[in-house]
Amino acid sequence: MSDIDTIARSHAAATRSWLEDLEPPPRRMDTPVVSGAADRRTVHPLAVRWSPVWAFAAAFVAVIAVGAAMVALTISRGSTDPAGLGLRPVDLGLGYVWSDESGSTSPEALGAAFATQVLGWDQAIVVNKDNADPAGPVWIQISQPDRQPIDMATSPDPEAGRVSLQIGEPSTIRAVIPGEPAGTRIGLVPYPGATSAEVTVRTFTSDTEIVFTADSDELEAGYVDTAEIPDAGQAGTVLVRYLDNNSDVITATGGYTDSPTPLAVTIAPDGGQTSAPTTVPADQRERYFMRLVILDGVATVDGDGVNSEVSDIAEGAIDARCATPAKSPVDELLDETEPAYQTANRILNSLSCDVSTMAVTIDEGGNATGVIGALDSQSVAQIQQVVGDEIEVEIDHADQ
């Protein structure tokens, strides 16, 4: 009896021989015959209204990227279910994750609307986790019997009433092949009981959303790839709904990033020195969604009591966050007029951190626009080549 390897090679050879009869047709030029991305997505015509996000949200958002005015979008919903899972389509925001079309203004109302419209939970209980002042950003928790409670960061918004800035632990985004526009990889978490996940992505360049399904194999692997977003840097907002065997939502995660350009990372090469920076190519690092941390229950308009950081929960990722910055918020330390590596040096010297790895995001002019503290493995490897033991990083090689 032949073994499977011999059989597979035999059929592969037969297939290659069969393909020899196939004549390549004239290649398409720049207009694909396929009827277009809009057909593959949840289409919702947009009435775009440009507006600055309210000061509260800006205080958070500015930490990882600063610059262009942010966009708030009014979305009219389509009614299709492209993933075929029986879920209601979700319209995501840009500059935030989700808002209630009816304009919920209280944290609890937004949470209740999210539970009903997005999760399909009909017995949800929503609480303000820290009894924080609803005039500012507030963490809420949405719970329902037999479901995993979901924490959601919410913030007032002058246009949408109230918006969600983060849902659970946000997923990660990276290029499938570093350096090539071959697709986007979305990080997943194999939550107990989850047998599939529906992923909704909104890109910066499109007014439609891309929806696709991850199966149990992909959940186990911790990621799902899509070729529908060739450039991972264009993915702006992501919502993942984790489903059980009945296609009921057991939990969800969501996050956004507000810069359409993959962030270049410049590392301070040596604390206090201003030598030339080491720049990690933007396409060789993962992009991170902002993760909000409200340190106390009274988040006020001037940002007191509010800090922010970014983190990564992807399989095998490295978490090197600056956990206890001495000042809050961190972006007070930014000076957009100086080179990024000088900013990184200055911040390293001025903060008291549990972990002293620091990176700053830069704009096209090379000036600092934000601070990050979570790096992918390639970035850390490059950092370590430069600074050796002077940089302390926490490395989690889980399941690599």
Partner: protein, 159 residues
């Protein structure tokens, strides 16, 4: 795009077309759909030609990922069927036993099916498969091993 680049792309297209269609075909089981996905991928490659470092790997990655999207597959299948309802097939059918073999490959978990197709049909080494799928070589070996074992079980042959 300069003429030289266009000529370079045409050469790439002619050299790779059959192999890419083959990969798409074994992963979808539908020749029309495979040709459509392949044209999509080449169109995307044309648009990004200046940025693509490894065109052969790039286009296989794109096609294999496109072929995995079941919702898209449903949509495109129907659209292609509608558009080409009166178009006669231009190639003979693949022999039944070979067609049946790839049907069993498609029944594998998606990642295993991808790896098996790339390893056997494209005759790619594990290192190249890892590169174009964006994962570790050890992961590719794991999927290949599991794929072989599952296939052997399904076909009732020696693993």
């Amino acid at each position: 795009m300069a003429d030289g680049e266009a000529g370079s792309f045409d050469g790439f297209y002619l050299a790779e077309y059959r192999a890419v269609v083959g990969l798409a075909f074994v992963l979808t089981g539908d020749l029309r759909l495979a040709e459509d996905l392949t044209q999509d991928a080449f169109t995307a490659a044309w648009r990004n030609w200046a940025e693509i470092v490894n065109p052969s790997g790039w286009i296989r990655s794109v096609v294999s990922n496109k072929a995995r999207s079941s919702w898209r597959r449903r949509f495109v299948s129907q659209r292609v069927a509608d558009a080409l309802a009166n178009t006669a097939a231009t190639v003979e059918q693949l022999p039944d036993d070979t067609s049946g073999f790839w049907e069993q490959v498609r029944a594998l978990p998606k990642r295993q099916a991808q790896v098996v197709a790339l390893f056997y049909l494209d005759d790619l080494p594990v290192s190249e498969i890892a590169g174009l799928l964006g994962c570790e070589e050890s992961t590719v070996r794991k999927h290949l091993s599991r794929g072989r074992r599952n296939l052997a079980s399904r076909l009732g042959v020696h693993p």
